[in-house]
C-alpha cells in the first residue's frame, strides 16, 4: 500500500455540498489534497493547466456532480474521455439525480461508481468513508 496520497478533484457547484464533502473528509480523517472546481468548464481548464490554480499533478480521482451550470457532469465526462491525457481518470459520480438515463450515460462513459447524495450527514460520512477505503485499496500508476 502506497503512503503517497492521491489528489482528489471535486467538481461541484453547490457551496453547501462542497462544505459537506470537506466536512466528511475531515470526519473520516481523509487528508488527500482536495481541489475544487465549480463546474465542468472550470474543471477542464484546471486539468489542462489553463486555470489560475497551478496544476502540480493531475488528480487520480474525480468526484463529479451531474447538474451544474455552464457544463454538466455527463458532458464533462465525455470531454475527458476524449482527451488523451485525461481519459484514464477514476470518476465517481456524486449526485442527487436518481434518473436511469443519467446512470446509463455515466456508466457508458466508464465511471468507477455512481453515488446518490443521501440527505443525512451521517450516511454521507459513511459513504465517503467507504470510498476512502476503496481508493486506499486501489493501486494507481505513478504519473
Amino acid at each position: 500500500m502506497s503512503d503517497k496520497l492521491v489528489n482528489i478533484l471535486l467538481v461541484e457547484d453547490d457551496e453547501v455540498d462542497v462544505m459537506n464533502v470537506k466536512r466528511a473528509f475531515k470526519k473520516n480523517n481523509i487528508t488527500n489534497p482536495l481541489f475544487i472546481c465549480n463546474n465542468g468548464v472550470e474543471a477542464l481548464q484546471f486539468l489542462r493547466g489553463e486555470s489560475e490554480i497551478p496544476l502540480i499533478e493531475i488528480p487520480k480521482i474525480i468526484l463529479l456532480d451531474i447538474n451544474m451550470p455552464k457544463m454538466g457532469g455527463i458532458e464533462f465526462l465525455g470531454e475527458i474521455r476524449k482527451d488523451e491525457h485525461l481519459k484514464n481518470m477514476s470518476v465517481f459520480i456524486m449526485t442527487t439525480s436518481n434518473e436511469d438515463k443519467d446512470k446509463v450515460d455515466a456508466y457508458n462513459l466508464n465511471v468507477a461508481g455512481y453515488i446518490l447524495k443521501p440527505l443525512s450527514m451521517e450516511r454521507f460520512i459513511e459513504a465517503v468513508s467507504t470510498l476512502n477505503n476503496y481508493w486506499k485499496l486501489c493501486e494507481f500508476p505513478e504519473n
Partner: protein
C-alpha cells in the same frame, strides 16, 4: 300510326259498318213496305174490279136471256144503264188501277177484253132495237132473229169471260210473286242482321286481340320495369322497341327516366366512394334530384375538407400535447432536482449547527432540530413522489410476455412482513403483455399497502385473477382495517392519505401512480371495501397477445 288515329279509324269503320247495315235494313224494310202498299192499293182492287167487270158482262148475258123470252121494261132500262154508264165506269176503274208497270200485261188483256165487248155491245144494241119494235114478241121471225143475236152475245161474253178469268189468275200470280219478293227481302234482312252480328263479333275479338298484343303487353312489361324502379332496383330497359305511337313515346320516356336514375346511381355511388370531383349530369333545369345530389356532393366535399382540417389540427394538437407532456416531465425532473439541493443544504447546515453547538444545545432545541430534519425528509419524499408520479405510465419500450406468477413472488421476497402473515396466491397467475418495471410498480403498491396497513394479528394477503377475455382482472385482497366507501375515490388521488403523516410515514402517491400506469394500459382500477371487512383492490390488464 298513333293510337288516337287508329282508335278513330276503327271507330269510324265500326260506325260505317253499322251505318251500312242500318241503311240496307231500312232499304229492305222500305222495299217490303212498298210491296205491301202496292198490294193494298193496286192489286187487291184490281182483282175485285176485274171480278166486278166480269160480273157486269155476265149480267148483260142474263138480262139478254130474260128479255128474249118476255118483254120487261125494267130489265131493258137496266141493260141500257149497264151499257151506257156502269160498264164504261168499271172499265175506266180497272184501267186506272192497272197503271203500275207490273200490271201492264193485265191492262193489255183488259183492253183486249174491252175490244171484244165493243162488238158484243153492238149485238146487244141491235138486240134491244129488235125487241123494241112493236109486236116483236109476237113475231116468230123476229124472235128467231133475237134469239140468234142473244146467242151471239152469249158467245162473245163467254170469250170475254175466259179472257178476264185468265187476267184475274194472272193478277193473282203477280200478287203472289210480289208477296214472295217481300218475304225474300225480309229473309235477306235477317241474313244481313246475322252477318252483321258475326262481323261485329269477329271485329270485336280481333280488336281485343290486337289491343292485347300491341298495347296491353308492352304496358305490362313497362309497368313491371317501373315497379322495379319504384322498389329501388334500377334496371335498364333492354328491349329496343321501334314504335312511333304513344306507347313508343311512353317507353322512350320510361327509358329516359331509367337512364336518368342509372346515371344518378352511378354518380351517387362514386360520391359514396369519395369522388367529390365527379360532375352530376343535370337532365334539365328542372332536374331537382340532380341538383340535390350535386348539393349533397358539395356538402360532403366541404365536410371532408373540414374533417381533414380537424384531423390536421387534432394532429397538431396531439403533437403539441406530447411536447407539453415531455416538457412537464422535464419540468418535474429539473424542479425536483433543483428543490432537492437546497433541501439537502438545509439538512446539512442544521446538522452542522447542531454539531457545532454540541453541549450548548438545549434539549428543546435538539428536539426542534429533529423535527426540522423530519420535515426535510418528508419534503424529499414528496419531491421523489412527484418525480415518480410524473414518470409513471406505460413504457413503450420492452413490452414483452411477462409471467405475473414469477413477478409477484419476486416482489414478495423483497417485502418485509410479519412472520405469521399468510400469503395466498392463485396458482398459475397468467402471462400478460407488459413492461416488467411498470407491472412491478403496480403490484408493489398493492402488496406493500396490503401488508403495511394491515393491523390484524393474523394478516392475510390474497392475490387472485379472472380471465375476462381480452384482459385479466387481478384482485389483491387483505383482511386489513378496510376503507369507508366515501373515500374509495379519494385514495387514488395523489397525496391523499387517510391517516396523519406523523403517525404513519405515508406520502399517498402509490395508488395514484398505480392508477396512472393501469389507465395508461387502458385498464381500470377500483376498490371494494368496508371498514372491518378488509379491502379488495382490483385492476385490469390486457391479456398476453403475440407481439410481432
Amino acid at each position: 300510326m298513333k293510337i288516337g288515329m287508329r282508335t278513330a279509324f276503327s271507330f269510324l269503320a265500326v260506325i260505317l259498318v253499322v251505318l251500312a247495315f242500318s241503311i240496307s235494313s231500312i232499304v229492305l224494310l222500305q222495299y217490303g213496305k212498298n210491296i205491301d202498299l202496292k198490294i193494298a192499293n193496286n192489286f187487291g182492287p184490281v182483282v175485285n174490279a176485274i171480278k166486278d167487270f166480269e160480273y157486269t158482262i155476265e149480267e148483260t148475258s142474263r138480262i139478254c136471256k130474260d128479255l128474249s123470252i118476255q118483254a120487261d121494261e125494267n130489265r131493258k132500262n137496266h141493260l141500257h144503264k149497264i151499257i151506257n154508264r156502269v160498264y164504261p165506269k168499271q172499265k175506266l176503274t180497272v184501267i186506272g188501277l192497272c197503271q203500275e208497270p207490273g200490271l201492264a200485261e193485265i191492262k193489255k188483256k183488259v183492253i183486249s177484253a174491252d175490244k171484244k165487248f165493243e162488238s158484243a155491245k153492238y149485238l146487244l144494241l141491235e138486240f134491244l132495237q129488235l125487241i123494241d119494235s112493236t109486236g116483236a114478241y109476237n113475231n116468230p121471225e123476229m124472235m128467231q132473229k133475237a134469239q140468234e143475236l142473244r146467242n151471239q152475245v152469249e158467245k162473245e161474253n163467254l170469250a170475254i169471260k175466259v179472257i178476264l178469268d185468265e187476267t184475274s189468275l194472272e193478277a193473282i200470280s203477280v200478287f203472289n210473286k210480289l208477296t214472295a219478293q217481300k218475304f225474300a227481302s225480309y229473309r235477306m234482312l235477317s241474313y244481313l242482321l246475322l252477318v252483321m252480328i258475326v262481323v261485329i263479333a269477329v271485329v270485336g275479338m280481333l280488336s281485343i286481340l290486337l289491343t292485347n298484343l300491341t298495347i296491353i303487353k308492352p304496358i305490362k312489361e313497362l309497368n313491371k320495369i317501373l315497379n322495379e324502379v319504384g322498389e329501388g332496383k334500377i334496371v335498364a330497359i333492354e328491349n329496343q322497341i321501334n314504335r312511333n305511337d304513344e306507347i313508343g313515346d311512353m317507353i322512350s320516356s320510361a327509358q329516359r327516366v331509367v337512364r336518368g336514375f342509372k346515371a344518378k346511381e352511378l354518380v351517387a355511388n362514386a360520391i359514396g366512394k369519395g369522388d367529390y370531383e365527379i360532375r352530376v349530369p343535370l337532365l334539365s333545369k328542372k332536374d331537382r334530384l340532380g341538383r340535390a345530389i350535386s348539393e349533397m356532393r358539395d356538402n360532403l366535399k366541404r365536410s371532408k375538407i373540414i374533417e381533414e382540417e380537424n384531423i390536421k389540427s387534432l394532429e397538431a394538437y396531439t403533437i403539441r400535447l406530447e411536447k407539453k407532456n415531455k416538457e412537464l416531465d422535464q419540468f418535474a425532473y429539473i424542479t425536483s432536482h433543483d428543490l432537492k439541493s437546497p433541501l439537502r443544504g438545509i439538512n446539512n447546515l442544521s446538522a452542522w449547527i447542531e454539531e457545532d453547538l454540541g453541549e450548548h444545545l438545549s434539549e428543546e432545541s435538539a428536539g426542534y432540530f429533529k423535527l426540522l430534519r423530519g420535515r426535510v425528509h418528508r419534503m424529499e419524499d414528496l419531491i421523489n413522489s412527484i418525480l415518480s408520479y410524473s414518470r409513471a405510465g406505460k413504457t413503450i419500450e420492452n413490452q414483452e410476455k411477462t409471467n405475473t406468477q414469477d413477478l409477484v413472488y419476486a416482489i414478495l421476497e423483497k417485502t418485509e412482513m410479519k412472520a405469521n402473515t399468510r400469503v395466498l396466491i392463485d396458482e398459475c397467475l397468467p402471462e400478460i403483455t407488459a413492461n416488467k418495471r411498470d407491472l412491478i410498480a403496480v403490484f408493489s403498491v398493492f402488496i406493500s399497502n396490503a401488508i403495511r396497513h394491515n393491523k390484524s394479528p393474523e394478516p392475510i394477503l390474497n392475490i387472485t385473477f379472472k380471465n375476462r377475455g381480452g384482459y385479466i382482472e387481478f384482485c389483491i385482497a387483505d383482511n386489513g382495517p378496510g376503507i369507508e366507501p366515501e373515500f374509495h375515490d379519494k385514495i387514488f388521488t395523489i397525496f391523499q392519505t387517510l391517516e396523519r403523516r406523523d403517525d404513519i410515514e405515508n406520502i399517498g402517491a402509490g395508488l395514484a401512480i398505480a392508477k396512472k400506469i393501469v389507465e395508461d394500459y387502458d385498464g381500470k382500477i377500483w376498490i371494494e371495501s368496508h371498514p372491518g371487512m378488509g379491502s379488495r383492490f382490483y385492476f385490469t390488464w390486457p391479456s398476453y397477445i403475440a407481439i410481432p
